[in-house]
Symmetry: C2
Subunit: 258 residues, 2 copies
């Protein structure tokens, strides 16, 4: 059984899944001496356009100079480097390049080369950025404090909030309450889901904090699940008043029942 | 100048950035006849453990049977296939494999092979899932409707909301308003940012819709930016009342001024 692996390996270089160039580190300006099909397809340049060039033609307006410097240093010192760098195709379209360069010494020629292996990680960077933007949006949305009357504000806590976010929310809410000269904060938990222990404790610790600031905490919409949790955690309810709903709390405040 | 590219190419197969196997399509069960260092490092298996095996040992509990079938069909028909598949390392750790297989015919041997090129895209899949989860959370957070009095609810619209999301919000809000027997909805725009045309129109169309349901729309917190936009878009304000703040609207309602 013949296993013609060298020939198959050679064919792998024709696959667009592999994006690779070879540069000659002993020539001035480290020019490209080989670019495979994956490289020409990704970048849009022809083999003729890239051979003999230093690969800085991939850089553009928004390429991070720090990434470029890291690359240059590695080439100068004949060292390996891995870097995510914003590169540009021939048509001007930017793409995120997960670039790995590796120095190679070929003894029989007494010559030094670099291998450059590229991966287009634009969709990964996009998903990452999307997630970050959404997270900031969530942070913003988590603090919908609504002043509903003289000295009364409502803060509905909605969704799957963990202990850390509870902390962040209260950090943002306190200055707002002070600015509004709030005397009462109605914290509505009816839309609150998946509460973990840390979040529960965090919420009920708020009452102590508010008391110090002279603000009365009113908690509404306590679900049976939350009620059980507070019992489990032995949380004292002496520092806050509860009502079934925001409406009942507002009405009690109007009647001066609190 | 000697350019020893075949030897350099050979060295590329020792890089872990390239993950590749070769299988013998003419042998029963398409066994692996070559695995490079990238493959053994990614999967944790040694060369000895993988040579002679069909690569189904990478599959596990949560691998999608549809992906496996697509792979099997491609092998049977000696066709190329690209697929994202959940695979497992030797230590049991799952990873997302962006797998590309390619049939190769080597004429001089009259033999058929497959190249399998793998990419670990676990971090991409993770970022994507994260973004999706955050988006669902945002949808939930965008509808913090707060009933504040008999027949009065407040809906603060917060953040960077586009036209589509405005539509989604109102779709969720209407049944809540009906359930609450709401007579007035206070829509607070003070936390609303980056409004595009579609979103602006959507918001002000809500007043017509609510009127049909017998609900009076009160809009508060209209920023100068929004005011200019409504003028630009020639939006009629006959179907809604405005107040500077939620508090003023609530107080006017208490005094029966509306």
């Amino acid at each position: 059984m013949v296993k013609n692996i060298p020939e198959i390996k050679n064919k792998i270089f024709e696959r667009t899944q592999l994006v690779v160039i070879i540069t000659d580190a002993d020539q001035e300006d480290n020019p490209i001496i080989y670019a495979n099909r994956g490289f020409t397809e990704l970048t849009g340049y022809t083999e003729e356009e890239v051979l003999g060039q230093n690969c800085r033609f991939l850089q553009g307006e928004d390429t991070d100079p720090k990434a470029v410097k890291k690359l240059k240093d590695a080439v100068r010192n004949f060292e390996a480097a891995s870097i995510d760098i914003l590169n540009y195709k021939k048509n001007g379209e930017p793409f995120w390049n997960q670039l790995h360069i590796d120095p190679i010494y070929i003894e029989e020629d007494n010559k030094r080369y670099f291998i450059g292996m590229q991966k287009d990680i634009t969709s990964f960077k996009h998903a990452q950025k999307q997630a970050e933007e959404y997270y900031r949006e969530i942070e913003l949305l988590s603090t919908p404090i609504v002043p509903v009357g003289e000295g009364v504000s409502v803060l509905p806590l909605i969704g799957n909030i963990d202990g850390e976010r509870v902390g962040n929310i209260f950090e943002k809410v306190l200055p707002v309450l002070e600015r509004e000269n709030a005397e009462h904060l109605i914290l509505d938990l009816s839309g609150f889901t998946n509460m973990d222990e840390e979040a529960t404790v965090g919420i009920f610790q708020l009452s102590d904090l508010l008391k110090l600031k002279g603000i009365q905490l009113i908690i509404t919409g306590i679900t049976p699940q939350i009620a059980m949790k507070t019992k489990e955690l032995d949380i004292s309810s002496s520092n806050f008043i509860t009502f079934r709903s925001v409406r009942q709390a507002v009405e009690a405040l109007e009647r001066n029942d609190i």
